[in-house]
Amino acid sequence: MSSHPDPTDALDPAAATELAALDAALAGDPADPEWAALVAAVRAEAPAPQPRFARALDDRVAAGFPRARPAWLRVPASRLLPTLAVASTLLIGGVVVGTGTLGGTTDQAFDAPPTSAQEETSGSTEAASAPAEGDEAAPVGRLPRSSAPPLAAPAPTASANPGLPATARKVERTTTLGLTTDAKGLQDATNGIVRTTQDLGGVVASSQVDSSPSGGEATFVLRIPTARVDAALERFAELASVARLSEGSQDITGSFVSAQDRLSDARAERKALLAALGKATTSRSIASLRARIRGNRAEIARVEGDLRGLRRRADLTRVDVSVRARGTAKDPDAGSAWGPGDAARDALRVLAVLAGVALVAAAVLLPLALLGLSAALAARVLRRRRREAALGVG
């Protein structure tokens, strides 16, 4: 309701005078009997409320216009409260579960188990059940591999299995293992890793151990026979808690076959060169053939080296092991008991998830709210017009 002053519709003085007289009569001023009589007559037109209606309305006003509650509100509080409590619990539980899921993805990728085709190409597969570093580690002695893709069977190699055809698959595997232990267990763990590697026929390619009174960290690059990697991992898992396990594989069969072909070609060439040398008669041709034989010999040595390297890559799996002692500066809470700091982080994570949910909800609800607001405004205008139309027909 808003007035819109319009200078063109100003009241003329005569009309203003009559309206003033009307207002005086309406206010009970008996100065002008004619106006007073008109006011009295018009007011007398409308009947007074019936006494019964007046009493009933008085009672309703005194009672504050009580109204029947909807059926769902008539449920006793003793029943409603447990229902609300269960619903709240489920909601909070859902948020917490969602939080855990979202938090895991930030620390570790949850890849689906790779297909064979994926394994043939370069690929890294992390154990889905292995917690990320900094999260709760698997108990000592257990590898978190229940849902992890099983390790591929040790790839047969020509050296290990001479009877296999030359086209047997050659797969290079890599494994990354993260362990956590307490400060006192770091030395035992590192010793155990070295001992286990040697016991299984592997070698320690490199190692680095940093220790301090508050903890420490050790990293190893190991070469372990592929057939014994699983056994090695099981024994490593007995040394400390497994915080992370990642496994990858790459098919190198193509490179291996190519090297074999080149070696065959080089050997065939050598055979031909030797035959030609036996038949050579001039000193010049003999010198030329000997030079080519030297080059051929170098080529054979180089290809044989490549083949040995490829066999080594297939036969020995590279295992990167890191052992982190609790309380180190890099990961102060890894493996420690759940405390106030964890609680604060969890609370922040829950709040972040709730904020995200609220943001998504707002993104959905805001356009709906705008549409609803527009519809409400349109309905209001329409309702007002219809009301006015009710007076327009007389």
């Binding site: 819109h4 409308a46 309305l57 007076l391």
Partner: protein, 184 residues
Amino acid sequence: MIAFRRRSDGMSETLTMAFCPPNTATLSFDALYRDTVADVHAYAWSLLREQAAAEDVTALAFERAYRRRARFDADRGSARAWLFAIARNAALDELRRRKRTAALSFDPAAEPEPDADGPDHEPERRATVQAALSALEPRERELVALKFHAGLSYAEIGDLLGISESNAGTKVHRAITKLRKACA
């Protein structure tokens, strides 16, 4: 604190309504009810010309006002004008619902019984006024009701109808002039 004038019984009386700081008014609903119930009923009857419908609209208007009393804003007008705006909407809704816009036309059968204790010339005078009112357009009759029963100022009538104060005065004056001529 604000005050407004009561006129339902023809007497000038000042009622006091307590208000909190701006825009957070606490409406003294009981006082408003006691002061205006007869006027709201008369206004509703003037629009609907039916006792039962007028009572329904009166009750509905007060119930709506009660439920919305927290939304009342004294800065936007008097409590009386606010209440009659609610009553007007309720009455117009009732007209629409019943498809009885024709009810605004004059129906002598719905008129109240003459007051037996009145002066001898009162029945004749009432019949004249009834005829004069019936000659008015529905919107003019509503203006008469807003002025005579609701007791609203021209500014309040303008706000209610969405027109200017002077325009409201002009329309009211035009309706009253027709009424007076018909009564003459």
